[in-house]
Symmetry: none
DNA sequence: TACAGCTGTAACAATTCTGTGACAAAGGTA
DNA sequence: TACCTTTGTCACAGAATTGTTACAGCTGTA
């Protein structure tokens, strides 16, 4: 699924410019022409990954919108401003901005910084591909070469932990701590049972999960 | 009804390329190989929603066509040009262009920009089609392959929210906030009940609404 | 008033998930 | 081989989640 970016600017031309470049880069752009509209859109549309916010706007200005957003969300915010005083920059960071770009700016540089920011904040991609497996972290779904595999929450978390530690041998204790949590105090044979269930569901790719006798398990695509 | 796009270029290869990509995207493409033909076609065929115009053409060039079109219509115009000087870009905007793409370009990027331009100019569709569902937002009516489905207000709003967030997993809390409003403070099981009512009414298409156990619901046409 | 449709809630049913124990199978060693 | 350790597999009971239904309150209308 495309990552959504909310662009907030009262100038139509600026919204169009940003929208074009970001859309071409593969983002889904949602536009708002003022602070009030931005707040409404942000609250009603889930999954917005980044807000690009003009400082100078009528009614609510950028800083005010930023403060209001910060009361409900930690979504990354990138400020766009025509002014360039150092105070403004400091003010932006104080009220919770993650980036700050001065107008005029080069659109391609802005795209680069947007990409970098999103990668920095969200880290991994939403879609992970390993061998014949495709995993969508946003909706807990896994496909094995086009076939949807339905995993329970525990199985999904277990698979994610294995994949994130590919090539590493993981003890049952490590797995329990990270998938079940430190407070868990059951048998470590529970891990074996779930590993078995996972292997059954990963029909063709179950050999990715290897047993390391005497130690634990390891995920490896070969 | 499909949206008509007039593609004007003297190179046959280019017309075919554009026509293929835009047709695949669901547009109806009308071709013209020079400025004069473009003017004639535009005047004789009503309902053209966008013109893609090559700048370098024999007889009437793109800018001249654009100026002539602008005397009779505000239809959005997208320029395509092999040249890349900043002056040309400025000249294009002055004579009334809405977009400007330099050759060579990626056809899929062009399609994205065409979609964005049309959406921006004409706004959202009143009629939404998803799989076997047809939804008219102006009168809150829904059809499932010719059969009218009578939904209550809540059910309609719920369906719209699901469709507007297709492919996204929505938690019960998100759904309550957006369909019922933030001030609502009942059980989140209300969502389940309404989801059930919706599924009963969407007889043949109720599998579009998927339960994501432990998380919430997701709308997806497959 | 009577009535019909819509809504939210609670209760119960159905389904799915989870951890555990028991036993089978496999691996390793003397 | 015999023996012990480790892992795989399965069944089951209880927990958690979701589906479904009934019902009471509410609204607007005839």
């Amino acid at each position: 699924m495309k990552k959504k970016i909310l662009v907030v600017d009262d100038e139509t031309r600026m919204r169009i410019l940003l929208s074009d470049f970001l859309t071409a880069e593969g983002y889904e752009v949602i536009e708002a022409s003022n602070g009030r509209e931005a707040m409404n859109t942000f609250c009603s549309m889930p999954g917005i990954r980044l807000i690009i916010l003009d400082v100078m706007m009528p009614e609510l200005n950028g800083w005010q919108v930023c403060e209001e957003i910060r009361t409900i969300s930690d979504v990354p915010i990138l400020f766009l401003t025509a002014m360039s005083s150092e105070n403004d920059e400091i003010k932006s960071f104080i009220c919770g901005a993650d980036e700050f770009i001065k107008k005029p700016f080069s659109p391609s540089v802005l795209v680069l910084r947007v990409n970098a920011l999103i990668k920095r904040i969200y880290g991994e991609e939403d879609i992970i591909e390993k061998g014949m497996l495709r995993i969508d972290r946003t909706c807990n779904m896994v496909w094995e070469t086009h076939d949807l595999i339905e995993l329970s929450q525990t199985e999904f978390k277990l698979l994610m932990y294995l994949i994130q530690n590919e090539h590493a041998v993981l003890s049952r204790e490590q797995i329990l701590d990270n998938v079940w949590g430190f407070q868990y105090d059951g048998t470590d044979r529970t891990v074996d049972t779930h590993m078995n269930r996972l292997r059954i569901k990963l029909k063709k790719s179950n050999h990715y999960i290897r047993t390391i006798r005497g130690i634990g398990y390891m995920f490896e695509v070969m």
